[in-house]
């Protein structure tokens, strides 16, 4: 969700944003989705393709090699950071009962909130079992996050963005890292892992101040 917002703000900073486009949050189905005129497009990948088809793209200036690298890093983030987030929020009994289920069911009245939250949890647990994350321990999850952060940090180096100018990868990485840094989850020390890589925290601060001018406080 945050990745899409940051992508949208980066694109708005770079090019004129099409009219009648708005961003929504929806608790069920695929989030987030963008509603532009007659079109409804959900999830980051299809939104990027939709916007590219309209003629705007953040990664036009990249050569083929860099585009391949960008794709690889985006898959890395989706593979480890996203799966780790889902695992922590939904497979850990403590966290899911304290945080995830109440938050997910909050827009709905009484029996629907419990039913939908449990249904979502069952679906995510099935997905984790299918990809082999269900048997992972807390330490293994920390290791996975650490490894991906190390790779991202090594790739970023001392630069401001991953590829010179802001691209979709910057938006995606910012979205995930910012959420992980600013959410305090009992029993997991993910923010400390990310803070071990100061260039990543500076990267987040930079994008936060540059593109999200409305927010006055930065919790990073």
């Amino acid at each position: 969700m945050l990745s899409v917002e940051s992508l949208a703000s980066q694109m708005a900073a770079a090019e004129p944003w099409p009219e009648n486009a708005s961003l929504y949050q929806l608790p069920t189905g695929k989030v987030p989705f963008i509603h532009a005129g007659n079109h409804v497009v959900s999830e980051l990948g299809p939104i990027v393709q939709f916007v590219r088809a309209k003629g705007h793209s953040l990664s036009e200036s990249l050569n083929e090699q860099e585009k391949a690298e960008m794709k690889a890093y985006m898959e890395l983030v989706n593979n480890s950071l996203l799966t780790a987030e889902l695992y922590i929020l939904w497979c850990d009994k403590n966290v899911s009962s304290l945080i995830s289920r109440p938050r997910y069911g909050s827009p709905f009245p009484f029996p629907l909130d419990t039913i939908l939250a449990r249904q979502k949890q069952r679906e995510i647990v099935r997905r984790m079992k299918a990809v082999g994350w269900a048997e992972k321990t807390r330490e293994q999850v920390h290791d996975e996050v650490d490894q991906s952060c190390r790779a991202l940090s090594q790739r970023l180096g001392n630069h401001k963005y991953f590829f010179g100018s802001p691209t979709e990868l910057d938006a995606l990485v910012f979205g995930h890292l910012y959420s992980l840094l600013t959410t305090d989850i009992p029993g997991y020390s993910i923010p400390e892992i990310i803070r071990n890589y100061p260039n990543l925290t500076n990267f987040c601060k930079n994008i936060d101040t540059h593109f999200f001018l409305q927010s006055n406080t930065s919790k990073v």
Partner: protein
């Protein structure tokens, strides 16, 4: 991957000749392969009915003990199917055919990216193999060498010569004994498979001919008493009544 981490902790470092950025690229490209290529490989080997029934089930069944070969391949297939469901999208948002089409589209794109990344070099990073070379080889070698029946992805891979050469190079480098005999085994198996198919075809044809023959005889017997004696030419001696009228 756990094994690789364990070996790293023991002090074996295959990537010591790489820079920090290249090490990060190794991790990223491994994730890319796992996300985009692996679902299609699993589909080709375990879900495609021709490949599973003709090749994989007998292969795995032959190497397992008696009761296991009855159900373990089937259980593995179910696990693969449930994994593939989550790799692209889920019903009712996307149909099974679209899922399969998307999986193969992703795999073709991934193969093109890997080929582009390798270019004309011997290995992905310089003159020495790295972890990424091992990961790529591990995924591509079975696809290249297995005598598959459903072969769309295999044909796409064979159309990328630098990846094929990379696989052969890794095979010669790390598995020299296998690469010597490996050329003949798939050919022999291919010949066996062809022979088997030919035999089946011949059997089917002969069955068909027998059936047709049987039908003809049955037809001739059932209408034989009345009319067919009139059709019998005069120079063949028959036991039936000679025609009084007719020609």
């Amino acid at each position: 991957m756990e094994i690789i981490r364990f070996l790293r902790r023991m002090g074996y470092k295959p990537d010591s000749h790489l820079s920090a950025k290249q090490e990060a690229d190794v991790v990223a490209f491994s994730a890319l392969i796992e996300q985009m290529l692996l679902p299609a490989l699993l589909h080709t080997f375990w879900v495609d009915p021709q490949n599973y029934v003709e090749l994989i089930r007998p292969w795995y069944g032959a190497s397992m003990g008696f009761p296991y070969n009855l159900f373990l391949p089937y259980l593995n297939r179910r696990k693969v199917i449930s994994r593939l469901e989550f790799s692209v999208g889920r019903l009712p948002f996307i149909t099974i055919k679209e899922t399969e089409a998307q999986i193969y589209r992703n795999a073709r794109e991934c193969l093109n990216l890997l080929s582009h990344q390798l270019g004309k070099q011997d290995y992905y990073f310089g003159n020495l193999p790295s972890t990424l070379d091992a990961v790529v080889f591990a995924h591509l070698a079975p696809l290249l060498r297995a005598p598959l029946l459903g072969r769309t992805l295999q044909l796409h891979l064979k159309a990328l010569p630098n990846l094929c050469r990379h696989c052969s190079r890794m095979l010669d480098c790390c598995f020299p004994t296998l690469s010597a005999e490996g050329g003949s085994r798939p050919e022999r198996e291919q010949m066996d498979a062809n022979l088997q198919k030919l035999t089946e075809l011949v059997n089917k044809e002969s069955n068909l001919i027998e059936k047709m023959d049987g039908n003809l005889r049955a037809n001739s017997k059932s209408s034989g008493q009345g009319k067919s004696s009139q059709q019998v030419p005069p120079d063949i001696s028959t036991n039936g009544p000679t025609p009084t009228a007719g020609h």
